[in-house]
């Protein structure tokens, strides 16, 4: 009569609180005893498809898994490719790349906060965060031509120049966003329900976080000051001044605060980028020489790039190359093996959500069942990114 009975719950793919992934929880009363995330529901074999496409065709493939911060993934791939191609990037192109990446970071954090609000129950936060993405989408459209799937960064530079009144527009959007952050604080971050729901929940201690290998704002929320933009600066991040945000508590509330502060830091970075933007070409000379002279006039007039004919079959040198980039959800790692032909021999991408899966077990054993959505939202886990 007194044996403890545990109920095995499948918080499966078709569940409003779990995204599209499978979680298996064994629950005794209300306390979780065992917890296994079972990933792979949206696996689409991106790495295998990349072996059948040419190097330039892989770019849209690689930026689709993580939709909200597509250009960070794009940048990681191109940085690895450029190590094999041996091409010099003009400084204006580097600043433009950083601009788009930081806009994407704000976008992705808003998306994460929206999903987080939905999981806790506050549907107002969800709607507000998703509506505030709209000015950012419109800005991205004016810069690159597409609202969400940019393919803006190509080997050698970027595809378009900065439009004429972009700076004014972006400053207006930032002052609007800063006012909205005040409202978010009042509604969500300082709401007593949110604090009661998130404080002390899903604690990952500092040593645990460093040992199991979670990355990104989750790591910084547990007190470990690690950010690839500071440790191994790529593009021109060593010329820009920004703070590294850490919080000591390691619970869901700390991770929420880290994301909110990172959005403010991204706004600061973009303001510095716009002030410091150097003039000059936005595409490498080595490839610009190969463009048709008639097309070159059009490029100079309209500010939109035309590709050289080489891009249909770009053949980098034989060898391997790696690159590390700080995407919005954590550290992103690319590894390309090339055998001299027009298609990559092997492309390996380790996405931040894949590394964050280990955080579930550390955070949820011993917590209540109702904390599963709270921890899911705070780790900002995105199943397509993890399953590729």
């Amino acid at each position: 009569m007194s044996e403890p009975e545990t109920v095995e719950l499948l918080i499966g793919p078709q569940h409003p609180g779990s995204g599209h992934m499978r979680l298996v929880a064994e629950v005794d009363g209300d306390i979780i005893i065992k917890f296994e995330p079972n990933i792979g529901y949206v696996h689409r074999a991106v790495e295998k498809i990349a072996e059948t496409k040419t190097y330039l065709q892989v770019i849209p493939l690689v930026e689709r898994p993580a939709l909200a911060d597509a250009s960070n993934h794009n940048l990681g791939y191109i940085l690895a490719l450029e190590k094999l191609l041996d091409v010099e990037i003009p400084p204006r192109a580097q600043y433009l790349r950083m601009l788009l990446c930081e806009i994407n970071r704000i976008h992705s954090h808003l998306y994460g906060l929206g999903i987080f609000g939905n999981m806790i129950g506050s549907s107002t936060m969800f709607e507000w965060a998703f509506q505030d993405r709209e000015p950012l989408l419109e800005l991205s459209q004016q810069l690159t031509g597409a609202r969400l799937t940019y393919t803006y960064i190509v080997p050698g530079g970027v595809r378009r120049n900065l439009p004429a009144d972009f700076k004014n527009n972006i400053l207006k959007v930032f002052s609007y966003l800063e006012k909205r952050f005040v409202d978010y604080n009042k509604l969500f971050v300082n709401n007593p329900v949110t604090i009661a729901r998130l404080e002390g929940v899903g604690v990952i201690s500092k040593t645990d976080a460093a040992r199991i290998g979670i990355v990104g704002p989750n790591l910084r929320g547990s007190g470990v000051p690690y950010d690839v933009r500071k440790v191994e600066p790529y593009c021109a991040y060593n010329e820009i001044d920004f703070d590294l945000i850490t919080e000591e508590a390691g619970d869901c509330y700390a991770r929420l605060l880290v994301r909110r502060e990172e959005m403010k830091q991204s706004i600061r970075i973009v303001r510095q980028i716009l002030d410091k933007m150097p003039d000059g070409p936005y595409f490498a000379d080595k490839y610009m020489k190969m463009v048709n002279p008639k097309m070159k006039e059009l490029v100079d007039q309209s500010g939109v790039l035309r590709f050289p004919a080489l891009f249909t079959a770009l053949k980098p040198a034989k060898g391997t190359a790696i690159s590390r980039v700080e995407a919005s959800r954590g550290e992103l790692f690319y590894y390309i093996v090339s055998d001299g032909s027009a298609q990559p021999y092997r492309l390996r991408m380790i996405t931040p959500s894949f590394k964050n899966v280990a955080g579930y077990k550390a955070a949820l054993i011993g917590q209540r069942l109702a904390d599963v959505p709270a921890v899911y939202g705070s780790l900002d886990y995105f199943p397509p990114e993890a399953d590729r």
Binding site: K53, T54, L56, Q57, V58, I59, P60, L61, T124, Q131, D132, E134, P135, E138, L139, Q141, Q142, G145, A146, T149, T151, R159, R160, N168, N169, K172, V173, S175, Y176, L177, K179, R180, D183, K186, L187, N292, K294, M295, L298, V304, L305, R306, F307, A309, F311, T312, A313
Partner: protein, 136 residues
Amino acid sequence: MGIKYLFVPRATLMYPEVSMDLCCNYRGMLKWYDDRCISCTMCARICPSGAIKMYKTDAKKYPGINYQRCIFCGYCRDICPVNALEFRPVHDKAYYSLDEQMQKPMEFVKGPPVEEEIKKVKPVFDEKRGLKYDSA
């Protein structure tokens, strides 16, 4: 605090009745100019999803497009050496059958249709509301 928001106008764009005026350089559906094309086939070679295929008519090969596969990345327009492909600010044409989506060169040259009856609004950036929609 929520009471304040009862008096702020809504942010939704009522889509089927009102449509957004897309700015220049938007990567929408394509229009092909057959008098400029030189049949170099670079657009078909660089397309990441295989949406552009060359069709043989008389002696030359001309491109046709399959809108089911097109991802609107813009590579074909960027690589064409004679500027024979151009973007049109149309993104939402609905087709009833698969055949209509695979356009041979004869239809590709016409380009996408333009809806005239929909009211167009232009998005304008604003400090108080982020994005406002003014009539174009």
